[in-house]
Amino acid sequence: MSGMAHASAWKGLVGVAAVVVALGLGEMTEAFSISGLTGNVITFDTLIRIGILVPVVVGLNLLLGYAGQISLGQAGFYGLGAYASAITTARAGKIGLPPSVSTSWWWPWIVMVVAAAAVAGLAFLIGRAVLRLEGHYLAMATLGLGIAFFILFRENFGIDPSTVSLTGGSDGISDIPRLRIGSFSVWPAERYYFLVWAIALLSIWAANNLGRSRVGYALRALRSSPLAAQASGVDVPHSKAVTFALAAGFASIAGSLFAHFQIAVSPSSFSFAVSLEFVIMASIGGVASVWGGLTGVVVIFAIDETLKTQLPKIIDGPTGPYQLTVFGFLLAIIMIFAPEGVLHHFRRLRRTSAVPESGASS
């Protein structure tokens, strides 16, 4: 029954990987470039940004599509990862880290992993308590949490900045080092591109594995009938909390990658508007699949970049307000007409027309 889905998921993954490699090689060898192919609408820089966000949205997709929960504060977890990386590298001295550790090549990698684990642990504790309650409570709690983290970043975690400035307040932290492996620097951008996309594809691959596992079935079940899932032996609150923790951990890793790409972080990258954008991306992708997270990020970036480059041709003045308006209505409309995700809708249409053959395949 699921062998076919398995095979097509693999094909999809290999296909995406091939495109990613081709675009990267094209850029490196200067044979062709994404800017050239898209008339400067999407640049190589954008491709890296897309790759960074894929794990965030894949995680959110698991939460939304499988556990049926939503986080309105995902930018907070993303920010925690970013600030953890930034503080322990660029401000290592201020927190008493010996330079022999903080300047070594392996340190940022360890921070990335440990931060993700810690963020996931924190999310698990919160999720465990809040997810006992039904429906909208996680949405509320994460909304508050996201805003709390944003303020903590801006306000130096409440510590007087004249004693020790960790976050740099509204200005943020700059001079974050690039990542290295031994003496091999993961920079210029082409190298970072491959790192980011390797992690992006890894997150898709893992989410896809999970979907086909025992846990994946349990999660899909508890989304529409927690009662029947429990009667089948699924520990519903625990499963939801772990999924939430996973999503938070994925976001944290992406945050670390963002910090080392941007080499500077400031609170505005982790505001509620950013959380909202993540939710929109996840909603477009819909029910988790190989494509859900990826499509969401790509579509939103494409719309975003198109608006950014095309709007100035018809409107003078700033285009930000239009983007906010368009995204807001877009989100409402997607949810009204295609609550399972736009992509899911297309698949469903295909599936309905293909029922006769698949009936015999089990």
């Binding site: 308590a129 429906g135 805003i147 709390a148 303020i151 308006t325 368009v326 409402a332």
Partner: protein, 334 residues
Amino acid sequence: MRLPMSARSAGIGLVLIAIILRLGNGRGFGATEYAQLTVDGLRSGSIYALIAVGFVVVFNVTKVINFAQGAFVMLGAMITADVYSRSLTGSDLLNLVIAASIAIVLTTAVGVVTDIVFMRPIRKSNDLVKIIVTVGLFTALEGLALLKWGPNALRLPAFNTFLTDNPRDTNYRPFGLLVKGQSIWIWLATITLLIALSWFFTKTMKGRAFRASASNELAANLMGINSVAMATVAFGLAAALGAVGGILIAPATAPIYDMGLRLGLKGFVSAVTGGLRSVSGAVAGGILLGVIENVAAGVTKAGLRDIWSAVILILVLLYRPEGLFAGKRETEKV
């Protein structure tokens, strides 16, 4: 041994008070300082209460947490400031009255349209879909406000300036405290509105029908009450309450397109603190949040002010999800 929840939340409350007193002590705060912080907290608390009642009204009838509530507050403030600045008549006071009326009517209309156009089609959808739709609408309204009014704050004079020659707000000094004229306006307006609301709910047909469909949609339908229409009334009412809150706070905060998120969150936290179902709980929650937030900000850092609502929200959700003032939760029907 597990302590009962009420004992635990009381314990947490005591610990928080102890921390506040300890921090205040470090700054040499005495009774006057705390009283002043409380009075100022009562002012924002009243606004939170109005916004919170908006959340409760919509939630009771439709089971929707309307994240767009904050946008209604923003619209009330922005439209008033905008219309006022056009000086339609020779009298400033009349200009304010006209501006406020237009703002309330327009915002109410936005609330009604929100329900009819966006919420009705998803009446039968799950919570998640509804939440995301209201979040989307919030964002869209904020975007539209940014388009219309730009990124800078507008201005609305304090209401007392219309009655006195003083170009600035009047300062009253009872018992060595400082009370702004606008605070008095806020309290008077909030009390009047809450009394009117309770009259509406208990004494009018429409209000009773409203309460009926809030408590049991099916039974209300059997009695001939149209719960779909009631949802629209709820959204309209919530929008009007939000708008009034926005108008009242406008002189104090200089209205800006993105003020809705912060105020919406505060109103929402107040509503949750009050149990999300009762109007009086929401009012109490609003007052409580206003005071706690202001005192806590006073003893720590002003920049941290907005974090307290998030902290309280999470504590309430963790320890008393049914709200501070509500009874025990009922067994969910299987």
